[in-house]
C-alpha cells in the first residue's frame, strides 16, 4: 500500500508508520538503542527532509501523476510486481532453509548462554564496544557523515555567489 499509493504525502506518512513498526521489531530483537536511534534519525530527520523535499517539488507533480505513461526503467507495474514477487519467494525460501540449518556459531551461542539476555544493559555495552573495538569504523562514519552534510549544503546553495 505504501508503494502503490497515488498521493505521495500519504505514502510518506505510511512510510512513517513502517519505520515505527520496524523500530518495534528492533525492540523485539533486544536492540533498544538501535530502535531509539531509528526513531530519532529516520522519523526525526529523514522523514522531515522527505516531506520538505516533497512540498518544495510538488507543483507539477500532481499533473505528472495523472498521465501515467512513463516508468522509471521503463517497467510496467506487472513486470515489477513479478520481479519483486520472485525475489520475495527466493528470499523467503532461503530464510526458511536457513532456519532449518542454523550455523554453528548461533547454536553454540544459544547453548553457552552468550546470546543477549532481555535483562542485558545493551546501551552501556554498545557504548563500550563502539569506543574500543569499533573505533575505526566509528571515526570513518563520522567523517563520511560530515562530508555528506557539507556536500548537501553545497549542492543546495544558490549558484553564482561563491
Amino acid at each position: 500500500m505504501l508503494v502503490s499509493m497515488r498521493n505521495i504525502a500519504r505514502a510518506l506518512f505510511l512510510f512513517f508508520i513502517v519505520l515505527f513498526s520496524v523500530a518495534g521489531l528492533y525492540v523485539f530483537a533486544l536492540a533498544d538503542f538501535v530502535a531509539i536511534t531509528q526513531i530519532l534519525v529516520y522519523v526525526g530527520g529523514v522523514l522531515v527532509l522527505m516531506l520538505f523535499a516533497f512540498m518544495l517539488s510538488s507543483k507539477t507533480l500532481v499533473d505528472q501523476l495523472q498521465n501515467g505513461a512513463s516508468h522509471f526503467f521503463a517497467l510496467p507495474v506487472w513486470q515489477s510486481l513479478l520481479i519483486a514477487a520472485s525475489f520475495l519467494a527466493i528470499l523467503v525460501y532461503a530464510s526458511l532453509q536457513f532456519g532449518a540449518h542454523e550455523p554453528t556459531w548461533i547454536v553454540t551461542a544459544r547453548e553457552s548462554g552468550t546470546a543477549i539476555e532481555p535483562t542485558a544493559n545493551t546501551v552501556q555495552q554498545i557504548g563500550v564496544q563502539v569506543m574500543t573495538r569499533y573505533l575505526l569504523p566509528f571515526e570513518i562514519v563520522s567523517v563520511l557523515l560530515m562530508m555528506a552534510l557539507i556536500g548537501a549544503a553545497h549542492l543546495t546553495r544558490k549558484e553564482g555567489k561563491l
Binding site: V22, A29, F33, K59, L61, A84, F98, L145
Partner: protein
C-alpha cells in the same frame, strides 16, 4: 517466541516491497523511499543476527553505522533531487536525460 526465521521473513518482505518501489515508481522521492525500505530490511537482519553475539555486539554496532550511512545518503540524495527539480521542473527520473547543463 519470535525466532530468527521470523525476522528473516519479515526482512525479506520489506526488501521485496522496497525493490518494487524502486523499479515501479516514477517519482524520485518514492524511489528513495524504496531504497530506504531495503536498507531497513538489511538493518533488521543485522539486528536479528546480532542478538546471538553478546560479547562483541557486532550486529547492533554496525546497524547504527548503517543508519548513519542511510541518513547521509538521504541528505545528499534529497539535495540532488531539489537541484534537479530546480533545473528540470520535474522529478520524474524518466525525463532527466542530460548530464550537463
Amino acid at each position: 517466541m519470535i525466532t530468527l526465521t521470523h525476522f528473516l521473513v519479515v526482512g525479506a518482505c520489506i526488501f521485496a516491497i522496497g525493490l518494487y518501489a524502486v523499479i515501479a515508481r516514477r517519482n524520485a522521492i518514492l524511489v528513495l523511499v524504496g531504497i530506504e525500505l531495503m536498507i531497513n530490511a538489511a538493518i533488521l537482519n543485522l539486528v536479528a543476527f546480532g542478538r546471538y553475539d553478546s560479547t562483541r555486539y557486532g550486529g547492533q554496532a554496525f546497524a547504527l553505522f548503517a543508519i548513519v550511512l542511510a541518513a547521509a545518503g538521504v541528505a545528499v540524495a534529497l539535495a540532488i533531487i531539489l537541484n534537479v527539480y530546480k533545473h528540470y521542473k520535474t522529478i520524474n527520473p524518466e525525463d532527466i536525460n542530460k548530464l550537463r547543463d
